[in-house]
Symmetry: C2
DNA sequence: TAGTATACGACCGTTTCTGTCGGAATTACA
DNA sequence: TGTAATTCCGACAGAAACGGTCGTATACTA
């Protein structure tokens, strides 16, 4: 628990890989899959999801493939995870509207919701560019104060 | 994904409940389960885990039950989650020692490891006491600077 | 010794995750 | 025009995790 799915991992890796090869107009799912030893068909589906979410643009046919739809700097890890795994809530009860059905006073939800936002904030502060560069530098200092505001 | 298991939720609720009733020397698993509508036997197992981890102390027999082993203020949500769900890594690949087997250059792991530590830091900053009080106050300002240091 | 409670292991049904298969539509190029 | 490369899409199967139950043993109190 509290773990990214492999799909999300794969998706992040793939986007990172694309960000590292801006010279190529497009890379096929197989190219990326081979580079990382990821099951090709599975990665294909993941990239399709990312395309539908607008993070990638795709071209079919020969020499087709995928490329980043926006600048690597402007795509956050949060968006990727959201696109692949859907919205996440740290509490297992909050299903959106109804909230906790079982319990009238599930008061733990409220503080944990804040944790949730913190996590989201951190993930939003990390861009694909940051992943591509080994020592992620910029996103750090930049968001320090925001993050504190979010968390506390 | 990125979600606490129900077990962890239940565990947190139970500890919160115990923290709210310091006058009672011990509360049985059934007492707590009834209070929240949690399956009694399931909660019992969870409380046993928490006991083995040293967060609770238990007494068998009549008028027995569970009580906090330490002050509510000194038990963090992190410890509870750790005791119930085991150690968590946000990346699905890192299994501890070997790291990423598949990939030679799974460079996404390194930035995400930092996210992982951030989450852990936030969870460590929340105590059972904070959960018991509705508007969790103290842990906030207190850890602001630490947290930033951790995250960024 | 009877009743209440924890302790512990086995088990099972459901869901989620991971991965595969098959086929259709699209594009480039010879 | 035909072929190969490639995205696109749904269905499905195996595996793992999760949630919950059952039975039984053990410990404590009155």
């Amino acid at each position: 628990m509290l773990k990214l799915t492999k799909k999300a991992d794969y998706g992040l890796m793939a986007l990172k890989f694309l960000a590292e090869h801006p010279e190529r107009p497009a890379l096929s799912a197989k190219d990326v899959a081979d580079a990382y030893g990821i099951p090709a068909q599975l990665l294909a589906k993941i990239l399709q999801q990312l395309t539908k979410s607008g993070l990638l643009r795709s071209t079919a046919g020969m020499n087709g493939g995928y490329a980043l739809a926006r600048e690597a700097r402007s795509i956050s890890a949060y968006e990727v995870i959201l696109a692949i795994d859907g919205p996440f809530f740290i509490t297992s009860c909050s299903k959106g509207k109804t909230g906790c059905e079982l319990t009238t006073n599930c008061t733990i939800k409220e503080p944990l919701a804040r944790v949730n936002e913190t996590i989201a904030g951190v993930l939003k502060s990390i861009s694909i560019q940051d992943l591509a560069e080994h020592e992620p530098p910029a996103a750090r200092e930049r968001n320090a104060r925001e993050l504190v505001a979010l968390t506390l």
